[in-house]
Amino acid sequence: MFNDSLLAMSEISKAYTGVQALAGVNLDVREGEVMALVGENGAGKSTLLKILAGAEKADSGKISFAGKEISINSPKEASNFGIKVIYQELNLAVHLSVAENIFVGREPKTKIGLVDFKKMQELANIAIKEVGLNINSNEQVNNLSIAQRQLIEIAKALSEDARIVVMDEPTSSLTDQETRILFDIILNLKKKGISVIYVSHRMKEIFEIADRVTILKDGKLVTVENVKSVTPDAVVRFMIGRELTDLYGQKSLKTGLNLKPIMEVEGLSSEPYFENVSFKVFPGEILVLSGLIGSGRSETAMTLFGALKRSKGTVTIEGQPFHAKSPMSAIKLGIGLLPEDRKKQGLFMQLVVRENMSSASLRDISRNFILSRTKDISLVTFFSEKMGLRSNAIDVAAGTLSGGNQQKILLGRWLAKKPKILILDEPTRGVDVLAKSEIYKMIREISDENVAVVVISSDLMEVLGIADRILIMREGKIVGEVQGNEATESKVMAMATGIGV
């Protein structure tokens, strides 16, 4: 049934300044097929998709579509071919109605050229029904849940005569029930001969919905497999190219062994993000906060760090009650936080590495409010070397470095503060595999120095790989706890999504 190749991307290469993001990658999608695309962060999935979507231009390689060689120069051209990409961060205008979003740029017109709102609503209602949504097309997108928005993106793609729908981590913010609906829609698409490229980390979903899987690693194609003839473990091994333990290092077994907790959180709430969160953190352990995006993990961290207002609850540090009203007060008490989005919340892009690294240590590198250049340089040089950053790079603008090096600057910033509790929110997002393993090593070293490390991660393999203990959050609550050596993918996922496996 899948004999006709609809899309064939062959020998696609793309380099960004100094980084070979893709090297001769092939992606072949047949008509009516669900092709899963997997790989670690930095493996090249998003670059490949951007090229397909016309958002980036490949350095070399060919794309043929329905048997003809084509060139895709803009997102508009991609869309004209029937290639529809649904990005993880949805592209909806939240202040407009559902109907307006679905028909943006191609609104039905009346005879005198005005927008025909009546017709638009009718057509929108049909499109919405098709994806199983039961809402009014006049509803403002603002009022919809993330899942509903996702379905609207799909409705939009379908109403535009899609031939290939690309879904980038579509279930990352969906509940199980919503995932079911999504899968039904995908099955429907298949029946109509529409192909789907399905990007996901979740083996369970891939093995349920996909026909084949394309595995990328470090910008290269590893293999293409039929899901029927391969196991999830094998796919994971293809993705990381080695056993998990090599990448993440040795786990600590100290956790919970008659240690006093360094931090106790009791009934902490910050509506609407999370409520009644209680847990303990022990010195020298790596505690992972796991859960789906939007489950309240980052917000919990931000609240502990004083960047979000606490509405209820108590926190004690070494037995002393502690209420951070601002990050400044949290830092004084020995907490560090590496934020989720390093570009928006972490780095000063135009400023040099040195300034970036000592930004939380201004007191330590100054006397009477006057900065000491010698202290600044010696502090930064010490931690650059510790982080494996080249020391001659400390006077380079942070924005010119690679993702991995940028993350090392931020880690260095907090190491320089010698925190008792270090919270790392997505420490390896958008970082290549080599830098990743260095960062894991670093995290283990930090915890070996008896620092309590709290890691927030959406990367399940990372969670399983580094955690001494895992807390799972769902919809703003802690729903479970697993010891690192007893955790499995399905155990954690079951709690994170709230379904038995």
Binding site: F348, M349, S359, A360, L362, F369, G399
Partner: protein, 321 residues
């Protein structure tokens, strides 16, 4: 690579270099075009004017470096001028004390600007636009729109006199500029200003007291505008509620010409000094060349646009993504 060539390279890579060349070029051109330009009399006028303007643009630099803006500085010039006149002439206060009151008034205006932008989270553009009208209105209301005259010689010295052969306002501006360079480059506060302008959330998450620092920059801008207003009152021998009209545009212009980014985090006082000098040179030159003052703004506007586009091309920092 030896040390010598590194320093040489550094000088040629200086962001301000193109501007230095332009300023030198304008000086050369004006010397050639007007026999009156390269005279001590003209330089004295130029130095006095530049000093007054520089105080305001240096203050503006602090605010813009945090990605803010202060549109109220021109009105603060008027307000401080009027306060000083009222207290000295109408209330017969001691001049030094009157100047003190006037500067406290300016600081207060800056503090309110800061409160509105940080705690009420108004965009600086809006809060200081409001203050532009309020401060100007206060100056006009208090005086009923009329001017105040009759200052003593002692007070007039600060605007009209000389110190070590240099006009006093130029001396003061020079001291302020040097101090500002030191503060921005060598102090914790200066570093924090750049952090906030470069990335406010990152600054907050680094434990920097963002609100306090921002309020301080507004107070610096207002204080220096007030100081300039007092000195201008002394220079002209009259306090007037219409003083300082449009000065905010000169100050902002000087900053952007000097390479201070309106998005914050990038710029230097040295750039601002050059920008101010360039704008005032052009003004001075046009007067000497007998070109109607009505045309001056056309030139100033053109200079701003041209130099910023040059800056964008030469001084641009390349950032991934």
């Amino acid at each position: 690579m030896n040390i010598k060539s590194v320093t040489a390279k550094k000088i040629f890579q200086t962001r301000e270099l193109p501007l230095i060349v332009v300023v030198a070029g304008v000086i050369a051109a004006l010397t050639f075009l007007s026999p009156y330009f390269f005279t001590s009399g003209n330089f004295e006028i130029l130095a006095r004017q530049t000093g007054l303007a520089l105080l305001i643009s240096v203050g503006m630099t602090f605010v813009i470096l945090t990605a803010g803006i202060d549109l109220s500085v021109g009105s603060v010039v008027a307000l401080s001028s009027v306060i000083v006149g009222e207290f000295i002439i109408n209330f017969h206060w001691n001049p030094a004390l009157s100047v003190f009151v006037s500067l406290i008034g300016a600081l207060l205006v800056g503090y309110i600007n800061g409160l509105f932008t940080t705690y009420l989270k108004l965009p600086a553009f809006v809060s200081t636009l409001g203050m532009l009208a309020i401060a100007r209105g206060l100056a006009l209301g208090v005086t009923g729109g009329s001017t105040i005259e009759g200052f003593s010689e002692g007070f007039l010295y600060w605007g009209q006199g000389k110190f070590l052969g240099l006009p006093v306002p130029a001396c003061i501006a020079l001291v302020v500029a040097v101090l500002s360079i030191f503060v921005l480059r060598k102090t914790v506060f200066g570093r924090q200003v750049f952090f906030i302008g470069s990335n406010e959330s990152a600054a907050l998450l680094s434990g920097i007291p963002v609100r306090k620092v921002k309020i301080a920059t507004f107070m610096i801008a207002s204080f220096l505008a007030g100081l300039s207003g007092v000195l201008e009152t002394s220079r002209l021998g009259v306090s007037q509620p219409s003083a300082g009209n449009g000065y905010e545009l000169v100050a902002i212009g000087a900053c952007v010409i000097g390479g201070v980014s309106l998005f914050g985090g990038v710029g230097s006082v040295l750039g601002t000094i050059l920008g101010t000098v360039l704008l005032l040179l052009i003004q001075d030159g046009l007067i000497l060349l007998n070109i109607s003052p009505y045309w001056q703004q056309v030139f100033s506007g053109a200079i701003i646009v041209i130099s910023v586009s040059i800056n964008l091309r030469t001084g641009k920092i390349k950032i991934k993504n």
